[in-house]
């Protein structure tokens, strides 16, 4: 081994020992715990606003309030006016005679000038025409 090579080896040996004391002094478990703690805080801080717990609690509260409101409303006003769609389905099941009967009963209560069916009978109308007339009265 030449003198130069020996010096190279000595330099590498010294370099290998460099920082040994700092490494020995390091509290590895403490460092690991501290890093994990900081990473955990980092993750919480980087969550989108809607995932953060305070916002989730507020959103859950709103959902509960709206749900409770709907339940209370349903109990206070159980009978709502049926929609035109439902009335139309019911009319489909009636015969022509039954429809005339319904119109006759309506005739006694309606005073609508545009229809004025009071003095006419409905014997000339087909089933479809009677249904259309009743639907128009339904609005």
């Amino acid at each position: 081994m030449t003198h130069d090579e020996a010096r190279d080896r000595e330099l590498e040996r010294l370099a290998g020992r460099l920082g040994m004391k700092a490494a020995e002094r390091l509290d590895v478990e403490g460092t690991a715990a501290a890093v994990v703690e900081r990473l955990r805080a980092d993750r919480v801080a980087r969550r989108p606003w809607y995932v953060q717990s305070a916002w989730l609690r507020a959103a859950a509260l709103v959902v509960l309030m709206v749900g409770a409101g709907l339940v209370v409303r349903g109990r206070l006003f159980p009978d709502r006016t049926p929609s035109g769609h439902l009335v139309r389905e019911e009319l489909q099941d009636l015969s022509a005679d039954q429809l005339r009967e319904v119109l006759g009963s309506l005739d006694q209560t309606l005073n609508d000038a545009t229809i004025e069916p009071a003095d006419d009978d409905f014997s000339d109308l087909t089933t479809e025409q009677l249904q259309a007339l009743l639907q128009s009265l339904e609005g």
Partner: protein, 183 residues
């Protein structure tokens, strides 16, 4: 000797990184346990003040875990981690220089610590530390990664974004200058 049971094989770094990315905190802790001492040695060798080594180790791991999604196994995780440590040390040097605590040229040299411990470290070792502080950053890091950490030129080059040939040249320049310094 019977072959090791693959079921109890310790997870490699890539597996631990994947586990951390999936939210497993224990994987991050295991990576710290595995590489913290080597990182502390590197930082101390690169001139980190003794009192700041612990904080720098933590800071380096935090930076690494924040950026680990961009790590593509271009080199070993440890090599990548050590270069992040080099950046953290450089930033510390800048902060110290802004506060005018130490002169800019000597910003990463250790100026504190117990004098008794420093005497124990040996005069030659201390001279080497001083010599490293006078090298350009690239030469210092290549020298430490090669001579202190025993890494291959290919790995060093990938981590420092240079070529293996250039890394070899940096190493030989560093050795030449350090030998002159130690004469």
């Amino acid at each position: 000797m019977p072959p090791a049971d693959p079921a109890v094989r310790p997870a490699d770094d890539a597996e631990l990184i994947a586990a951390w990315l999936a939210g497993e905190e224990r994987a991050a802790a295991e990576l710290v346990r595995r590489h913290a001492r080597a990182l502390a040695r590197f930082l101390a060798g690169a001139g980190a003040p003794e009192a700041d080594v612990d904080d720098l180790v933590q800071e380096t791991f935090i930076r690494a875990f924040r950026a680990v999604g961009s790590f593509r196994n271009q080199c070993q995780f440890r090599t990548w981690l050590l270069t992040i440590g080099g950046n953290a040390l450089k930033d510390l040097g800048r902060r110290l220089a802004r506060r005018r605590i130490v002169p800019l040229d000597d910003q990463v040299e250790s100026r504190d610590g117990n004098p008794h411990e420093r005497a124990e470290a040996g005069e030659t070792e201390e001279r080497l530390r001083q010599g490293l502080g006078k090298l350009p950053r690239m030469q210092r890091e290549v020298f430490l990664l090669r001579a202190q950490q025993g890494l291959e030129y290919d790995d060093i080059a990938a981590a420092l974004d240079t070529t293996p040939g250039a890394a070899r040249v940096h190493y030989h320049h560093a050795v030449k200058r350090l030998k002159e310094w130690l004469k």
